[in-house]
């Protein structure tokens, strides 16, 4: 033990202590070797006193009796005290070593404990980890098992349902079987009874047919014997019907096929045209379209081919070719449309927000506007419906009812009223006019009567005063109409006079004239008042007067007949 060696050395060194401070130095150097923190010497020849006092202090601080007292000048030490002190120091040292040893032992013990505990800790930690993992594993298994249990439960439910269904089926089948069996049993019993009856009942009623006379066949032909020929004929007919049916069906299918083929061709042409129309635009694009170009060239060839050789389409290869080409075109069209869509979205993203927003905005605006419009229309329809409902359902009071009952026709009624009013006014006007006319006619007739009487009297006078020298009035006939008109009054009697003057020469002519003269007279009389009223009309006729006097009268008659209304002709007739 180094401590014991140290003690020994210390002891050996302490024995040699009083000898010289050199040995102290060597001890201290030895101690220095042991305790490396003490550098340099402690005591030399020069600082003995100091050393002594220092040691004294140290000793006293340790609780031991002082070694050296400053009683005399002598630097002699109290050897007993020094020895005691040394002995005490040695004991202290030993005690210290002992405690150090025990402490070291304790420390070792505790460190070994610590190691042991650490080991156990690590072991326990590992165990804990392990058990945690096991736990999670078990939880996982439990969850899976629960899932399985659920699925199994649902399976079980399904199976139960199916079992129930099958049981129902079985039950219905069983009831059906039972029913059939009962029916068959009943029939069997009936058969048995009948058999019994037949066996017992000896007299058997035979089958017989009793026909008054044979009737001819429905188609009038004679029946044929059953020979092989007829059998073959029947077979042939049967196959004929079947074949005709198949023929008809095949024809229908061929027609349908032709239609569908036409439609497909049309579709293909349209698609090709659509795809080829954008070919120039495609050419400027990325090289991936070059493949498309090549293919589109092929298409043209295909189209060319198929249009020419349509007969080939009836074979399988051509049909497949057609369908494949259509599928190809369709795929291209689809990809084209998709590309356009992506381009449009890209373009929208690339462009600035304004321009981007504008089309979107306009779209959105339009959508909103349309929505608003729709909403408004809906509201309008709603209100209309409500009003209609109200009207139909709610009972209004008398006034409003009466008011509303005719409200639909109000406008028409008003218009009708107005028109009625105008018509009434017109009617009144017409009535008035008619009254006027009648009054005028009455007046006219009165005037005529008066005039006639005047005329008659005047003519009478004239006639009575008639002289054969009144020929000078012939020429004025050729005067203008106005002259005639004005002088009508005067001419008429002159005509008469002339007539009568000509009685000498053309007697037969004048005779009818004479008979017509009264008519003429009436006419002229009638003419005169009528002349005044219808003057503008008859201007034309007046000009047409002929030169012949007698003819004049007749012509005039005719003219007046044509120009005027019935009344003169009627009068003429009545007179004649």
């Amino acid at each position: 033990m180094p401590e014991s060696s140290l003690v020994k050395d210390g002891r050996s060194s302490s024995v040699e202590y009083g000898a010289s401070p050199l040995r102290q130095f060597s001890q201290s150097s030895l101690l220095l070797h042991r305790n490396s923190y003490m550098l340099g010497t402690f005591c030399t020849e020069h600082n003995v006193q100091q050393c002594l006092s220092h040691i004294n202090q140290e000793i006293s601080s340790l609780g031991l009796p002082p070694v050296w007292t400053e009683s005399g000048n002598s630097s002699e030490l109290n050897i007993v005290a020094v020895l005691n002190c040394m002995y005490d120091l040695i004991q202290l040292h030993r005690r210290g070593l002992r405690t150090l040893e025990s402490m070291e032992v304790e420390q070792l013990k505790s460190s070994s404990n610590i190691d042991h505990l650490q080991l156990t800790i690590t072991r326990l930690k590992e165990q804990l980890e392990l058990s945690k993992r096991e736990n999670t594993g078990l939880l996982e298994r439990e969850r899976q098992l629960q899932l399985k249990a659920k699925s199994l439960q649902s399976c079980l439910k399904n199976e139960k349902e199916e079992v129930q269904k099958l049981q129902n089926i079985i039950a219905s089948r069983a009831s059906q079987y039972n029913h059939e069996m009962k029916r068959k049993e009943r029939e069997f019993n009936k058969l048995k009874e009948r058999l019994n009856q037949l066996l017992v009942d000896k007299k058997e009623k035979k089958q017989a047919i009793d026909v008054l006379n044979n009737i001819g066949r429905a188609d009038g032909k004679r029946s044929l014997w059953k020979t092989e020929k007829t059998e073959a004929k029947h077979e042939g007919e049967m196959y004929k019907t079947l074949l005709s049916d198949y023929d008809a069906r095949q024809r229908e299918l061929v027609l349908e096929n032709a239609e569908l083929r036409k439609v497909l061709q049309q579709m293909k042409k349209d698609m090709v045209s659509i795809l080829s129309s954008r070919k120039p635009a495609v050419k400027s694009d990325k090289p991936e379209h070059s493949g498309v170009q090549a293919r589109s060239e092929e298409e043209e060839e295909e189209v060319f081919d198929s249009s020419k050789e349509s007969v080939e389409l009836y074979c399988v290869h051509a049909r497949e070719k057609l369908t494949n080409s259509i599928r190809l075109q369709w795929r291209r069209l689809k990809s084209h449309v998709e590309r356009l869509d992506s381009q449009a979205s890209l373009v929208q993203m690339v462009e600035s927000k304004d321009t981007d927003a504008v089309p979107q905005e306009t779209q959105e605006e339009e959508m909103d506007r349309l929505k608003l419009e729709i909403q408004q229309c809906k509201d309008f329809i709603q209100t209309q419906q409500q009003l209609l409902q109200q009207q139909l359902s709610s009972p209004c009071d008398e006034e409003t009812a009466s008011l509303l009952s005719n409200c639909y026709m109000l406008q028409e009624k008003e218009r009708l009223g107005e028109e009625w009013k105008t018509l009434e006014e017109q009617r009144k006007i017409f009535e008035r006019e008619r009254k006027n006319f009648t009054e005028a006619a009455i007046r006219l007739s009165h005037e005529r009567k008066a005039f006639e009487e005047d005329r008659a009297t005047w003519l009478k006078h004239q006639f009575l005063n008639l002289s054969p020298f009144a020929d000078s009035k012939k020429t004025p006939l050729l005067k203008s109409k106005s002259a005639f008109l004005i002088s009508a009054e005067t001419e008429a009697p002159e005509k008469l006079i002339k007539c009568h003057s000509d009685t000498a020469s053309p007697t037969p002519r004048c005779v009818p004239l004479a008979s017509a003269s009264t008519a003429d007279l009436y006419r002229t009389l009638c003419l005169i008042p009528e002349n005044s009223s219808v003057q503008p009309k008859t201007n034309g006729e007046h000009v047409e007067e002929s030169s012949m006097f007698c003819g004049d009268v007749f012509v005039q008659h005719q003219q007046w007949e044509h120009s005027e209304d019935h009344t003169p002709s009627q009068e003429k007739n009545s007179s004649i």
């Binding site: 059939e180 047919i209 009793d210």
Partner: protein, 433 residues
């Protein structure tokens, strides 16, 4: 619409001749033939027993009267009233009797379906056909009358025999792949024969005229299967109505399903729904004299009119008893209109509704909801017009233009009108009898 006066008839035996000139009715054991336009009695025949079945021959010259109990068939001639013919089946019994398409042969099915006897009126010859099958529809003539298909069963296997109606020569005889053949029907063009299995298995087989199997159609396995089958007049479609309340349309080119019509209880998408609404006329107390009650029929006759309902509409459903056989569920009646445009169907658990489907658009055209169960309906042979009756005194007509309910004038009883199962018959001239 004109209605004639009421005639007495028994057993719903009232048929118009195929040429549309005469009307024959049976009253007990008498056969009355009237002229259709004047309704005057032309002939009166007396049979030996109560007439069970009456049928005109195809050329309208003869009438067959069958008396099943006595096993007798009497044939009367219209041209020569003195001519008579009596066929006695003897002890072998008689279950059904019918004309052949040429109108000169009579096919009698004996009791227990032992055999079919073919009696010839031209030669008095007899032929027998063995082992006919007793099923829903075991015998069918092609439309042109040249072939007859007969279902047979030998050794627990189903066969189909095709005969040439000319001389009853057996053309083809082949086995069918059915478990229990329920019926067969020729297509209108006479080239395809549809054969269907019993309701326990959904199977429809299509055979060509020469006996080759063209195709098999089965919509689903198990459960109750086919209930009714109908060809379209152009032979383009075959409509199959089944117990799962659906109608499946098969096309004649691929024999595959092209459409499926369902009959849900809630109608959501259709053109129109017509609902019959009854209205009783108001009767004042002073009119309730005895005289009025006994003579006036207005007390119990209710006025009906159709109302258009807005979708969705609920149709009353009657759930059938699951324990009984032949449950009242599924599409039992299918009828195509003569122009191929419409299909009328009736679902048995919605018995008061008739569904009209548009075959061009393959969608529901109209639903007619009546106040009571629809007894029968029939299409007009010329125009797309459907007539139906529900057992009361009214006749209902539907056309694409609209719906109308017509009151049939009957003698009013104090007990109310009888629930007659009125069999509708159309004349060639498209008038309703």
């Amino acid at each position: 619409m004109n209605f004639s006066e009421v005639f007495k008839q028994s057993n719903q035996l009232c048929k118009v001749s195929p040429d549309g000139k005469y009307l024959a009715t049976c009253v007990q054991y008498r056969l009355v033939v009237r002229d259709v336009s004047t309704l005057q009695i032309m002939h009166l025949y007396t049979c030996l027993d109560q007439i069970s079945h009456m049928e005109w021959s195809s050329d309208s010259l003869f009438i067959l009267c069958a008396m099943y109990k006595r096993g007798l068939v009497q044939v009367w001639s219209l041209e020569q009233p003195d001519w008579h013919c009596k066929i006695d089946e003897g002890s072998i019994g008689l279950v059904s009797s019918r004309w052949s398409p040429d109108g000169r042969h009579i096919l009698n099915t004996t009791e227990f379906h032992l055999r079919i006897t073919v009696w010839s009126l031209c030669t008095k010859a007899v032929s027998y056909i063995k082992y006919p099958k007793a099923c829903q529809k075991g015998i069918d003539f092609s439309r042109d009358g040249s072939y007859m298909a007969l279902a047979e069963r030998r050794d627990c296997k189903d066969f189909v025999s095709i005969f040439v109606c000319d001389d009853w020569h057996l053309l083809r005889h082949f086995e069918t792949e059915t478990q229990d053949l329920a019926g067969l029907e020729w297509s209108p063009n006479g080239c395809v024969l549809a054969v269907w299995d019993s309701c326990l298995e959904y199977k429809v087989l299509l055979y060509s005229l020469d006996g080759r199997l063209l195709s098999t159609y089965s919509a689903y396995e198990w459960s109750l299967g086919v209930k009714s089958v109908s060809w379209s007049p152009s032979s383009q479609f075959l409509a199959i109505g089944s117990y799962d309340e659906k109608v499946r349309i098969i096309n004649h080119i691929t024999w595959k399903k092209i459409a499926q019509f369902e009959h849900p209880a809630t109608v959501e998408s259709t053109k129109t729904v017509y609902k019959e609404v009854e209205r009783r006329p108001a009767v004042g107390t002073d009119e309730m004299s005895l005289h009025n009650i006994t003579t006036g029929s207005t007390l119990f006759n209710t006025q009906s009119k159709y109302e258009i309902c807005s979708l969705p509409v609920q149709i009353p459903v009657v759930k059938p008893d699951p324990d009984r056989a032949n449950p009242k569920i599924g599409v039992s009646v299918l009828a195509f209109s003569s122009d191929n445009h419409y299909l009328a169907t009736k679902n048995d658990n919605m018995a008061s509704a008739v569904w009209v489907w548009n075959m061009q658009k393959m969608s529901l055209e109209a639903v007619l909801e009546q106040t009571s169960a629809v007894r029968c309906f029939q299409w007009d042979p010329r125009h797309p017009r459907l007539a139906l009756c529900t057992g009361n005194t009214k006749l209902y007509l539907w056309s694409p233009g609209g719906c109308v309910a017509v009151q049939v004038p009957t003698e009013g009883n104090f007990l109310g009108p009888k629930l007659n199962y009125i069999v509708l018959r159309y004349r060639k001239g498209a008038e309703l009898q």
